[in-house]
């Protein structure tokens, strides 16, 4: 058995972080803006799909608001609480959800079953976890992932929440990541 000393563990994780986050990490100025959060979420989304599922996502356009132009079959939703309060929804068409499940579990399915739901929740969890690391604001806490399924379902957020949408394409279908950011008390004044 080999045991890593604490300093070795820390060095290894920090080295990983520096190699992963050198480009998307934001400056202090832009980090405070919703676009800073969006950039972190986008970078994390691309990384999670590539690393865990071997799926190359290309980010296409950004939309200021919700995107109702596409029909999605499942959404993985995770909340962030703390100094920044946000909700992130990773929205999947069935084909992409099944492709991710096949890549992660080696399982072929033709419907969104319990395992597919679990995959969607885990992907959403990793996307938001990675974004939180990139955003590097202290004391942010993630909620447990929630998954909503159903063809054409909608994810609604309260009216006071600013919504930013990022559209991605892949060989297995397009997906959208919606970020709902609650304005801070300062910005509402």
């Amino acid at each position: 058995m080999t045991e890593m000393a604490g300093q070795d563990i820390l060095a290894e994780v920090l080295q990983r972080n520096s190699s992963l986050f050198q480009s998307p990490r934001e400056t202090q100025e832009t980090k405070d803006l919703p676009e800073g959060i969006q950039t972190c979420v986008e970078a994390s989304t691309v990384q999670v799909f590539k690393t865990m599922c071997g799926i190359d996502l290309t980010r296409n356009e950004r939309i200021d608001g919700r995107c109702d132009a596409f029909n999605f079959d499942a959404s993985g939703i995770v909340t962030i609480t703390g100094a920044t309060q946000a909700t992130v929804a990773v929205r999947f068409p069935k084909q992409l959800a099944l492709a991710c499940t096949n890549a992660l579990l080696g399982k072929t399915s033709d419907r969104i079953d319990e395992e597919v739901v679990d995959v969607i929740g885990e992907i959403a969890n990793m996307v938001v976890g990675g974004a939180k690391e990139r955003f590097a604001a202290p004391n942010l806490t993630l909620g447990l992932p929630l998954v909503v399924t159903g063809s054409g379902h909608r994810v609604l957020m309260p009216p006071q929440v600013n919504i930013l949408s990022s559209l991605f394409s892949s060989a297995s279908g397009d997906c959208i990541v919606e970020i709902g950011i609650k304005p801070s008390a300062d910005s509402r004044e």
Binding site: T2, L14, N17, L105, D118, G121
Partner: protein, 119 residues
């Protein structure tokens, strides 16, 4: 060799168990949160534990503290999205043996397991 895998995500448990099987480890046990993990840990002498951090009921960190509080020196690998320096230090102070950040390449997991798995 008995290995306990603790994660609230069934997907993640399956991925880890599959990697353990690839190392020749068939004696794997699964728990869905820290409470379940701690109950199993008290009942069975494990040779290796892999645990997530963020779980309902009892977190991986609390679970780790229970393990170390019991006097056990079993290797515990934290497999988590928590990669911030402060969080890693927290886990080290609680007695974690090794650390793997999600998302990870399959080879990264395999490399970690190879270090602790003696078939």
């Amino acid at each position: 060799m008995k290995v306990l895998v603790v994660d609230d995500s069934g997907v993640m448990r399956k991925i880890i168990v599959r990697a353990l099987n690839a190392c020749g480890i068939k004696d794997t046990f699964e728990a869905r949160d820290g409470v379940d993990g701690w109950t199993q840990f008290q009942a069975t002498p494990f040779d290796l534990v892999l645990t997530d951090w963020n779980m309902p009921e009892m977190s991986g960190l609390e679970f780790l503290k229970e393990i170390r509080g019991s006097g056990s020196t079993v290797p515990v690998i934290m497999v988590t999205t928590e990669g911030e320096k402060g969080r890693v230090i927290e886990a080290i102070q609680a007695g974690v043996t090794d650390y793997l950040c999600k998302p990870f390449e399959q080879e990264d997991l395999q490399r970690k397991l190879d270090k602790y798995v003696a078939v």
